[in-house]
Structure formats: C-alpha cells, structure tokens
C-alpha cells in the first residue's frame, strides 16, 4: 500500500506492507535511525516520535496509521543548525549516557514544554514515566528538561498548533 506523511517537515510517499510498524518504516525505509527500537510492548519508550505534536510509541503504531499526519523524529529537533533547548539541556545537564533512550526522552520533553512551558518536577517525572532509562537514574533527565524550560525561545517544533 501507499502511505503519505510529513516527516520533519518533508513530504514522504512510500510503498509499504500494511503490517509495517512505524519504527521500522522510519528506520529501515526512510533511513532515520535516530528513532530506536527497544521493547515491542510500549514499555520502554525509546521509539517515541511525535505525531501531530503528541508523543507516540512507534513500535506499536502501524506506519499506515501515521498516513496523512505530521511526524517529528529526533532528527527534526534541530532547526537550521540551531539546537532545540531540550537538546541543549540534555548536554548541559548530563541527561544522557549511552544515548539510546535519549531521542524518545527529548521528544516527550518537547511535547511537554509545548503544552506546559513551566512544568514542576512532578509533572516532568509523570511525563517521562512511560519511558525507561537504564543509565541516568532520571534526575539528570529531569534537570535537563528544567534547563530547557528555563532557556526556552519561541520553539514550537512538532507542535500541531
């Protein structure tokens, strides 16, 4: 079947099998390998991408379901050579170690900050609670997102509004 979607602002039209998962479509067919595959059961969240600005686990989303929608992956966070404050925050606050969960964490953070520019620690923890990190113990991820909130410019990446 034919699927059409916008990925990081670019129109993409590809032939797929109806059963193709979005994570494999993005990685193997579109070549965007920043989105990772971690668990198949929606538990780990390393595969999170934004669909119309909302965080979605691409390991349990069919590529066909993203048809007609706007998909944002980690590769879409940097705009014209300028890092998203979330990316900057993760570097500033040591929010990553192996970097495998990081793309999903950052996209969830971006969606959170688009909806709530000044979240409390509790709100941040709740927002990333569908995702697992084995390296950081989460405190530095929370601080990274707080850093981004404190250094937010007029960023609306992945926002549907």
């Amino acid at each position: 079947m034919q699927v059409n979607m916008t990925i990081n602002g670019a129109e993409v039209s590809e032939e797929i099998e109806p059963r193709h998962l979005l994570v494999h479509f993005l990685r193997d067919q579109v070549g965007l390998t920043g989105t990772h595959w971690g668990c198949d059961t929606s538990n780990c969240g390393t595969c999170v991408v934004l669909i119309d600005g909302e965080p979605v686990k691409s390991c349990t989303t069919l590529a066909a379901m993203a048809g007609g929608h706007e998909v944002t992956t980690v590769e879409g966070l940097e705009q014209d050579g300028v890092l998203d404050p979330v990316q900057e925050g993760f570097m500033q606050c040591h929010g990553l170690q192996c970097g495998f969960c990081t793309p999903g964490m950052m996209l969830t953070a971006r969606a959170l900050l688009n909806n709530n520019p000044n979240p409390s620690e509790g709100v941040i923890r709740e927002a990333i609670s569908g995702q697992i990190c084995r390296c950081t113990g989460y405190s530095t991820i929370v601080r990274s997102i707080q850093w981004a909130a404190n250094h937010e410019s007029a960023v609306t990446i992945g926002s549907s509004s």
Binding site: C39, T41, N43, C98, G99, R134, S139
Partner: protein, 801 residues
C-alpha cells in the same frame, strides 16, 4: 589522605563546565559523545545497513527441557524470501554446533540433541527482510519430547533429578563446581565461642541487566579475501575477536570486530551469544552481509542474567557489637551452561570480598554451583564480578545483627570499620584493600541525611502507626581486573594496551582497548591525556571499539576501564611527555634536568621566559632540523599496562522509605549516596554513573526478578513482566563524595561504574525491613513488591526462590 571538600558549584546541573571554562585535564566537562547522540546521529549496530544485507531470525524452544525428535524446515525453505534455514544438525556437520563459554564450559549454538532452557536457540532463518525472516520461523516444525525440567535449585543434586548436561562425557549429576575461601577451622572456633550468632537465609534473586539496546550483530564475510567484519554489541571487542579465531579457526588478522555506539551494556554484552555466531556462519555460507538483532523478549529470556544466589549467612559478634566472624554457604544457580564471565581462577567472581568494610577475626565461604534448566549467565548487571552478592550478604547480615543487639545500624558499622592506618589491609579471605578511610564517608552521609533527625521522625511516626524506614549500606568494592599473574579470561591476561600519537600541529589521537557503552570514555580519556600533556581535551580524539585500530585489551566491564586502561592512558602520556622533555631540552638549549613542566609547556628553571609548549615540541618532533642525539622523530608511544592490584572504591548509602500500611506500597523518599572512587577525572560523569546505579538498586530491591514456573517457563520475558523503575519510582538522588586516592594507580583513580549498583540494593532492603520493625521483621527477600511486603506484614513472607 582523604579529602572531603564539596564538589565544584553547579549550574542547575551536575556541574558541566560552560564552553568558556573547559578544564585542561580533570574537572567537569561536557561530553564529547553528546553532540551526535542528541541529534539522533549515534551509530548503533541496528543502524548498520549494507548493500545486499540479509536478516537473520532465531527459532527458540518453547520448552525448558526436551529431546529434539525431528525438525522439518521444508516449508520455511520454500518461503519466497527465505535464503537459508539452518538447524543444529547443519552446524554439527561443520563442527560448529557447540562453542566454548567464558568459563571453559561449552554452550550449544543451536541445539542438536535436546533443549536445556526455554527459548534456547534451535534453528535460524536468513531472509531478505526482517519480517520475512520471522514469518518463516513459524513454518519450521519441531517435534519435542518432554523431559522433566530442573527448576528448583535446591533439588538439582537430588538423586532422582534428571541430568541436564548429558552432553558432557561421564556426567552423572548437575554439579558444576565447589569452591571455598577463608579458614573454615579458625572461623568455626570463633563462632563456637561467640556471645552472639545470627543466622539468616538471604536470597539474591535472578535479575537481568536489560540494556535499552538489545544484543545484535552484522557479519560481513568478504568471499575472496576471507575478511570478516563484525559490527557487534560487545563490551570486549578484542577478547571476542580472539575467541572467534580460536574457536572457528578464522585467522585472527582476518577478523575485524567493530563495537559502534552501544546502547548500554551492564555486563549483558560481555558474553559471546549464539546469535553472533549464527550471523557469522550465515555470512560465511551465503556470502552476503547478515544482520541479527534480537527483540526484547529474546534479550530477557536468553542472554546473560545476573545473581541467582541462595546464601546461608552467619555472623558472630560480642554482645557489645564487635563483629568477629562471617560465614556463608552459597548455592549458585548457573543455568543450563556455565557461561559466567569471570577470571579463570575466580569461578565465583570476587565474591570473596564478602567480609565487607569490617576488620574481623575470621571468615569462611563454601559454595556449590549447579546446572538448572534456565538461561546461562550469572556475572552481569554491574556486579563487579559478584561483589553485588557479597555486599548484599554482608550488609544484610550486619543489619540482622543490629536488630538482635538492638543497636543502631550506623553505630554498629562505625564500631567495626577497618581503620585508615590499617591500609593496605589484607582481608581474612586474602584481598588486599589498597586504600580507604571509611568513617568520614559514613559521617558525611549521615550529615547529609540528617540522620539523628530522621531517627527522631521515625520514632514519632511509629508512635502514630506510620511505617518509615531508614536503611544503611556501607560497601567496599574490588575493581580493575586485573594483575595478569592472577587474572585471565580463557587464558587472555587482563592487561590493557593504549597508544598515543601527537600530530605535528599538537593535536592528538589516543587509542584504547576498552569500549564505552555510555560511560563517556571519549571524554574522560581525553581528559586523562589532557591532564598529563596539557593538550586541551577538544584537541584529543579518542578511538575505541575497533580491533583494527586499537591495541589489544580485555574490554569494559567490572568497572575496569579507569583502573586499568585509565592507568595505561596516563602512563602512555607520561612516556610521550618524557620524550617531549628531551626534545624541549634541545630547543631550549638546557639540560633535561633543568626543565620544569607546567601542564602544557616546559620552561627552564629560574628563567620562565624560556619555554616551549607541547605544540611547539610536536612540530619540532616532526619537523626539519636535528633532534637531540639518539632520538627518533615523531611524538608517540604505546604501552601495555598490567595493574599491581585491584582498586577498592567504597561508599556510604542511606535510604529513607515510607510504606503505606494499607497497601504495602513502598515509596523511596530520599536516597543519600557518598562515594569515594579516589581521584575524580570528571565529577559530572561520576555522579551520573552513581545515579544510574542507584536506580538499579531500587529496581532490584523492589521490582526486578526473572522467575520461572514449575515447568521452567520464564516469567520475566517482557518489560510488562520484568519491571524496571521509571522516573516515578526513583527519588531525586542526593550525592556527595570523599577522595581517597589509590596508592598504586598512576593518577590515584579507582573504578566507579558499578559502585552504586553494588551498594544500593542493601540500603533499600534495609530501609524497608527497618520500616517493618514494628511487625517483628528481621529479614525479607527481594524483590519487595507491594504484594511481597504485604505478605511480610501478614507474617507470610516466602523466599522468592
């Protein structure tokens, strides 16, 4: 000497220096790895795409113990996108059905005679794409004949129990090894005369490292030259290459192992798995690149697990609380194949340090390791070669003693610490602790926690029927394997190579034998070279994870990178600096002895205006004109570092929990961790490593366990069943440090990667047990899930095994 000054001020973060304040050498420095990883431009194994690449999927056994009667692969072979279907019989024809483990046992690559654990590898399919390979697995018909599985570790040696390893000639039971350490008679004498003896059965259940990236490989055998390139999720690329050469008979110079970015390892990526071998065989046979990437279930059910020790613990003490002896009898479940990745002379890893941080009179451990119908493994999950189990044992039994003596657990520990003047300290099991100063770390943790105030709060809450617990753990680790006279894996000595080359313009490249899986080697090793040469870290490229481009060494696990390779890096830099000094003496027309080093330049003593920088020297080393007599051109060196001893980091941890008496849900309210890993290279990265290990501790203590039903079915086969803490179960960690340098390490550094994983589980369990004191509870086994805490509160606590 121990210093306790606070960490440098932080900027809302762990203290990453801004671009303007980058340290030349040690200090908080943002990581060199991060710019690619935050852009999604890391390069992990599953990101490797080669022209014509095929995909491999593995058929696994649904049963834990069964004879393979027949396999019909014809339907799978007829699948239009399938290129090959290979069974154990096919591999056996090539002599490749079995491979050695890292403990001199053998493990089936694909089962031939029978399957020995649920999800064992039985056959593989190679197909044009990922989905077709998995489709074809469904088309393979395997006829199994059930054999009663051996699941209960306590019954493995019963006479009527089926023999799992009938592949081993003459094997008549499920025994692997017996091992002992310490002095049995001396220990018995102390116990026989002790005022107080406390006994407890303490179980460390089977857990799994579950790195975010599962295991996988891409094998590419070039048909004409026979060159194999293997992109692989390995923590030890050089060791793997040598093992492939020894086992498969491939010439070592024709094997290149590349470990690209690794999405976490924690020991899970030390062993060689059947899937890697299958990918190599497939590429060899088919002549095209082949990718194997396991899914999460495969990772949890078949790859290196951790722990699985049943420990009878005993502690003897005076009634005043002076600990005199510790004795333990351990039953170790190693699964179906002995796949433990530990140095050859240490079948139980470094469990021998179970005497902990205490100066005692005698100690003895006796251990029996056995086969069961479960996945192989045992040494993983940041365990420092079984020190996790040792520290859990001693820190739990010391708390049991405190309970019986009605003594404060902090006071009991302070009373028994090895004293600073006793270092180097030889323990009763023969381990020589290099340096330590325990009381300041303990006092600092107690100060940070507000220990006295917490105890007052607890007393008040107990009056009101509220359940609050305070748990303490004080650990000493032994990391940095290791001296080659004692330590090898499969005959490979545990020394590490390092090469440093300074380019003409004063930039540098350093090549490591170790391999980061998130630890930040590209940053810290640049800092070590920077500290020694004065070259800024951003001018130093760190090459690692590629056997063609790095010197030999045994890889990154057991917190060994800084103790072994970090020492190699410092010493290779000093070797380069020594040569630079001779070149500088020629440039400055002064004698070598008259030159002084000021991080980055040599100057003539008494005439600081006369100086040359390391960059000037590098150009001179490669440039025109004569060098001092006898000196070759160039500015580079290499080294193979053999450590004198392990390093012994330590720490004091305090955990505060609240338990809801109505639901038995445990909330970790606070966690205070004071670590001492000697000289700190990058405090930000150290803090990060500690944080990650603390979360592991909460996970193991409260939710993680790989369990089995009576038929040997694995009950932890997905992240819906094997629970890992999220941001909601973990507190905001409170960390501090003291600094007691290692006397034998060139920069005084000790390993820290596993300290918190080793030290935190007993702190959490001790806190939960402390909260349950009003119920008369002295011990409860992990994982302390709400249901298991509830049962404990009802007086129905059962061991998890």
């Amino acid at each position: 000497m121990t210093t306790t000054e606070p960490a440098p001020p932080v900027d809302g973060a762990l203290g990453a220096a801004s671009d303007e304040e980058r340290p030349i050498g040690f200090g908080n420095l943002r990581r060199k790895e991060d710019p690619r990883l935050i852009r999604g431009m890391g390069h992990f194994v599953d990101d490797v795409q080669l022209p014509g690449m095929l995909h491999l999927a593995i058929l696994r056994s649904p049963m834990a113990h069964a004879k393979i009667v027949s396999i019909d692969k014809s339907a799978a072979e007829a699948h239009p996108k399938v290129v090959a279907v290979i069974t154990g019989e096919d591999l056996a024809a090539q002599g490749l059905a079995w491979m050695p483990t890292l403990s001199n046992d053998v493990q089936a690559v694909l089962a031939t005679d029978k399957v020995r654990f649920q999800h064992q590898e039985v056959a593989f399919v190679v197909a044009e794409d990922r989905y077709s390979a998995r489709d074809a697995l469904e088309l393979i018909e395997v006829d199994y004949e059930w054999i009663d599985p051996v699941v209960d570790v306590r019954k493995t040696m019963d006479p009527e129990t089926p023999i799992i390893r009938d592949d081993l000639e003459g094997k008549t039971d499920n025994h692997i090894f017996d091992w002992e350490t310490g002095d049995e008679a001396a220990t018995k004498a102390v116990f026989d005369n002790a005022d107080v003896v406390v006994k407890e059965e303490i179980i460390y259940p089977r857990v799994h490292p579950a790195p975010m990236e599962t295991c996988g490989a891409v094998a590419d055998v070039e048909r004409v030259s026979g060159q194999l390139t293997l992109w692989c999720t390995t923590q030890a690329p050089h060791a793997h290459r040598t093992v492939y050469a020894l086992v498969a008979g491939l010439p070592e110079h024709k094997i290149r192992v590349i470990a690209p970015d690794i999405g976490g390892g924690f020991g899970n990526k030390v062993p060689i798995y059947p899937g890697y071998v299958c990918a190599i065989v497939a590429s060899l046979v088919i002549g095209k690149p082949v990718k194997w990437m396991e899914d999460r279930t495969e990772n949890l059910v078949s790859t290196g697990f951790a722990r699985d020790y049943v420990m009878e613990a005993e502690i003897a003490a005076t009634k005043e609380g002076k600990i005199q002896a510790i004795r333990t009898n351990v039953l170790a479940d190693h699964g179906a194949f002995n796949g433990v990745a530990a140095p050859t002379k240490y079948p139980a890893g470094f469990f021998g340090v179970f005497t902990g941080s205490y100066d005692i009179d005698a100690a003895y451990c006796k251990m029996q390791a056995v086969y069961t119908n479960k996945a192989p493994g045992g040494v993983a999950y940041a365990c420092s070669f079984r020190i996790t189990e040792a520290v859990y044992l001693v820190e739990r039994i010391v708390d049991c003693l405190a309970y019986e003596l009605e003594m404060d657990p902090a006071e009991l520990r302070l009373k028994n610490f090895i004293q600073p003047e006793q270092f180097p300290y030889e323990s009763k099991t023969g381990w020589v602790y290099d340096s330590g100063n325990y009381e300041p770390a303990m006092r600092k943790a107690m100060d940070m926690a507000g220990y006295e105030e917490l105890r007052r709060e607890q007393a008040e809450k107990r009056e009101r029927g509220e359940l609050m617990g305070i748990g303490i753990s004080f650990f000493t680790e032994a990391v940095g394997a290791g001296p080659r006279k004692d330590m090898d894996i499969l005959g490979l000595g545990m020394a590490d190579g390092c090469e440093l080359r300074i380019h003409p313009t004063g930039k540098a490249v350093v090549r490591l034998s170790v391999k980061t899986q998130g630890q930040g080697h590209e940053t810290t090793f640049a800092q070590i070279i920077s500290e020694e040469t004065g070259i800024p870290p951003e001018d130093i490229d760190v090459i690692h994870g590629d056997t063609d481009n790095t010197p030999f060494g045994l890889g990154t696990y057991g917190s060994r990178s800084t103790p072994v390779s970090g020492a190699a890096a410092a010493l290779v830099a000093r070797k380069v600096r020594d040569k630079a000094q001779i070149i500088a003496s020629g440039m400055l027309e002064a004698s070598v002895a008259d030159l002084q080093w000021d991080k980055g330049s040599f100057s003539v003593a008494g005439d600081p205006e006369k100086s040359v920088t390391i960059q000037d020297i590098a150009m001179k080393a490669h440039g025109a004109g004569d060098l001092p007599e006898g000196l070759e051109g160039g500015l580079e060196a290499q080294i193979c570092y053999n450590p004198d001893n392990l390093t012994y980091p330590f720490g004091a941890y305090i955990c505060v929990v609240d338990i809801d008496p109505g639901t038995a849900v445990v909330k970790v309210r606070r966690f205070i961790a004071v670590d001492d890993c000697g000289t700190q290279i990058n405090p930000m990265i150290i803090e990060g490593q500690v944080h990650g290990g603390l979360a592991d501790g909460v996970g193991m203590a409260m939710m993680e366990m790989i369990s089995f039903d009576e038929d040997g079915n694995c009950l932890g086969g997905s992240l819906m069943d094997y629970l890992i803490p999220t941001a909601l179960e973990t507190p905001d960690w409170e960390t501090g440090h003291t600094v007691t340098p290692s006397p034998h390490h060139p920069i005084g550094a000790k390993g820290v990667g596993e300290s918190a994983t080793v030290g935190s589980p007993p702190a959490v369990v001790n806190a939960i047990v402390d909260a349950l004191k009003p119920y008369g509870i002295r011990h409860a086994d992990m994982p302390l899930t709400p249901s298991r805490v509830w049962e404990t509160m009802q007086g129905n606590h059962t061991p998890p095994i």
